[in-house]
């Protein structure tokens, strides 16, 4: 089974702090994704990466950056956390090869910014 782990289930930070959310996968998948989920807005894509050191902006990249130094690890960085970044953050992975495949999600990190 694919395993996608996220560094924290719950996190509380203060406005202005730098926040790191880590995601690790064990299936050698090329593609990794960061979403945020808010009530009434569904899942929105922040950034994704299709290879080490490669990244692409999703629909809502403002206020976020990412890092992928190793294939199995994809980090989401909030350079200066703000209250409007309080949300559930979900990491996902999928293969980059041929065929119909699926995204595998981690358990999520619920971030509260005070």
């Amino acid at each position: 089974d694919v395993k996608v782990t996220q560094s924290s289930r719950y996190l509380v930070k203060r406005t202005g702090e730098k926040v790191f959310l880590e995601c690790v996968q064990d299936m050698d998948h090329e593609n990794m994704f960061w979403y945020r989920q808010d009530p009434g807005l569904g899942l929105r894509l922040i950034y994704f990466s299709y290879d080490v050191k490669m990244k692409e902006k999703g629909d809502i990249p403002e206020g976020y950056s990412v890092s992928r130094e190793k294939k199995e690890r994809f980090s989401l960085i909030l350079e200066s956390a703000s209250t409007n970044q309080t949300s559930m953050y979900l990491c996902a992975t999928r293969t980059g090869g041929e065929g119909a495949d699926t995204q595998y999600f981690g358990p999520g990190t619920r971030l509260t910014v005070l």
């Binding site: 593609n31 899942l43 299709y50 119909a100 699926t102 358990p107 999520g108």
Partner: protein, 111 residues
């Protein structure tokens, strides 16, 4: 990728069959349809995927008509544990890339 439209919410009772229909009028030839399920405080989980006609697995069935402009997820004999949000997505074959999630359908199963 084609936009999808599905009901915001549905109610059902235990033991009933639930059908959730999704429309995707602009689906392309190399797109396929995927459904995810999400429980509160968890990440979405893949449940079924198809290209045309009918697909069945141990969890659900997926019906896709010939024109592929819609699809129906069928959950047989639901239980309270099927209460979740169900997302219909259009994905592109061999893309391996991002998915676009809509609002999903919030299914509430009552005793």
């Amino acid at each position: 990728l084609a936009k999808t439209t599905q009901p915001i919410s549905m109610d059902s009772y235990e033991g009933q069959e639930v059908n959730i229909t999704c429309s995707h009028n602009n689906i392309a030839t190399n797109d396929y349809i995927t459904w995810y399920q999400q429980f509160p405080s968890q990440g979405p989980r893949f449940i079924i995927q198809g290209y045309k006609t009918k697909v069945t697995n141990e969890v659900a069935s997926l019906f896709i008509p010939a024109d592929r402009k819609s699809s129906t997820l069928s959950l047989p004999r639901v239980s309270l544990s099927d209460t979740a949000v169900y997302y219909c997505l259009v994905d592109r074959y061999n893309q391996g890339g991002k998915l676009i999630f809509g609002q999903g359908t919030e299914l509430s199963v009552k005793p």
